[in-house]
């Protein structure tokens, strides 16, 4: 299939970008939201993989670009796994516990997109950023 216009090239670009946008090109000027998913043994046992996949699905569905999802080790809240920490630029980090796939979707929809916190799932509000 031949590319016949700049628009067609941009279409291919947008499609390809989805596959590679988790790589940091070093040129991203805008500030990046970080979501850290606890992926230690207990986290995985409690379903962190499903949570992670749900987050990635939702990000793609909503077309959010300035975000990176990072898997991290045990955050020490084994009683409330899976845990997800959200670092919004310019805000205190928020740590959520018991994040099921559904809660994960809510975090994206409410917290990330609309700035509303999900009070029920918050473990800690104020602490130093990891």
């Amino acid at each position: 299939m031949a590319i016949k216009s700049l628009d067609e090239l941009k279409k291919i670009r947008d499609n390809s970008l989805k596959k590679v946008n988790l790589r940091e090109s070093g040129e991203n000027g805008e500030e990046i939201i970080e979501m850290m998913v606890g992926m230690a043994t207990c986290g995985i046992a409690a379903g962190a993989r499903e949570t992670l996949n749900a987050i990635l699905d939702e990000i793609e569905a909503k077309g959010i670009k300035n975000i990176r999802v990072v898997q991290v080790g045990c955050m020490g809240y084994c009683h409330s796994e899976p845990t997800v920490q959200v670092n919004m630029p310019g805000h205190e980090p928020i740590l959520y516990g018991n994040v099921s796939a559904k809660v994960a979707k809510d975090i994206i929809e409410k917290h990330i997109l609309n700035g509303e916190l999900l009070d029920e799932n918050i473990l800690i509000k104020t602490f130093n950023k990891a």
Partner: protein, 597 residues
Amino acid sequence: MARYRSHIMVCGGTGCVSAESEAIIENLKAELKSHGYDNEIKVVKTGCFGFCGQGPIVKVHPENVFYVKVKPEDAKEIIEEHIIKGRRVERLLYEEPMLKEKLDESSKMNFYKKQYRIALRNCGLINPEDVNEYIAFRGYEALGQVLTEMTPEEVLKVMKDSGLRGRGGGGFPTGLKWEFTAKQPGNEKYIMCNADEGDPGAFMDRSILEGDPHTILEAMAIGGYATGANHGIIYIRAEYPLAIKRLDIAIEQARELGLLGDDIFGTGFKFDIELKYGAGAFVCGEETALIHSVEGARGEPTKKPPFPSVEGYRGKPTSVNNVETFANVPPIILKGSEWFSSIGTEKSKGTKVFALAGKVNNVGLVEVPMGTTLREIIYDIGGGIMDGKDFKAVQTGGPSGGVITVADLDTPIDYESLKAIGSMMGSGGMIVMDEDDCMVNIAKFYLEFTQDESCGKCTPCRIGTKRMYEILARITEGEGKPEDIDNLKQLGEMIKNTALCGLGQTAPNPVLSTLHYFRNEYEAHIKDKRCLTGSCKALSKYSIDPDKCIGCTACARVCPVDCISGKVKEVHVIDAEKCIACGACYDACKFDAVIKP
């Protein structure tokens, strides 16, 4: 379609491939599969990260964790610890040599911090064998813009305004070169990419071709549009099989997408590219010689003018540009000439890639803005001299350049400043030498190279470099004569002024510059028959430090000519008359008691 949450980038550059990065990829894939993660994590073979001394490199996105010196057997730990449990594999992290601190992200490393990557922007970031990844990072957008929104004159103006100069050594303004070609009458014109990287110690072109081949194709097409050429030719060394393979794949993919061929972007613009192989001749980096070689003949240069822009391949106007030069073109189009000309110094705009090698801690490819000082490159980025030794000199410009000493470490480097201190930019090889390197020997090394690579067409180069080499060889053999220094100088100046092409005109530089800065070493070789560093075997005389020798007999046992005497637990002595200066005793001594001359 599987969507991946993490990408593991493994370096597929030549350096890392030879250190078994292919096996790392295999093992990573096998581990992922056995844990059932192969649909979530993608392993990508990418181009050179530039940090070759620490290879093989494995980088995990999105965390940006940067693992160094990875072995195939480490794959298991990376998957089980990092990927499954999210814990960094500490022992594979890079340790900053000055700070002795482990760092996980490349952006924190001094090696990367001071770099500004334009030409190398995609190396280590994309899979070079997948055009879609190139497109994802704005690939071919510049070509699209040029063809659909700009006239050739506008493209030429942007290139001229940007101030981009040839990165192969000459430093001629690229926009002007294109304009000369564009102004020639006729429909048959050519645009050539000089990928005959022959400077020993420079490997940036190879890395760009291996890591980001599409950028060269795109830039050549842009050059074709600006100059009115419909044919592109890449002249590449046959010694670079991996780069050839990646270019073949890239050309194929570009043709499939209609980015090469007839009617590109539906504009009616026609452009295609073919590869021509070199066969090992340094002089073919000179553009007229290169053109003769592409025509299938001996790669001998011819007099300029006529310049290739007027009369080149098949007698038609031809623009020959270097790989790194081309790699700068798409970003200039996308971001504008003002952006590019805001980087660098007054007369040298943009960045330059240097191949940092030799006695420096962080060996690799370094792209810095013009005007960066050598001290920043060698100490901040390069991490200083290996084994805590003293810096002696750095050779830039390869066999055409000269040495730069500690006195000029703070000179901001660009085309003009390097010339002013007796060296040159060249293609960007940067060989760091420490106190153990003999400058006469280095000069001899380069002259051996140039006299061997001289094509033989003009007398000054063919015979002159040979005579210079013979004098240098004699000096290092301990048979130098007092008049040798003057003869070298005179001969050098004469060759510079009379040789036909750039190879000959610059060949004496390594000798003239070492003579200028290290005349004492030449004199020591000639008058005292001494090589101050012990590099020249014929002049080496070893001795033993009586304070350090404990009489272990290790040296006496390894000496092939039995010239070391001494009883057990007593200080040993070397008979200088019999010593053949093989250095075996020096290597054998565990107490640093053997003194190199």
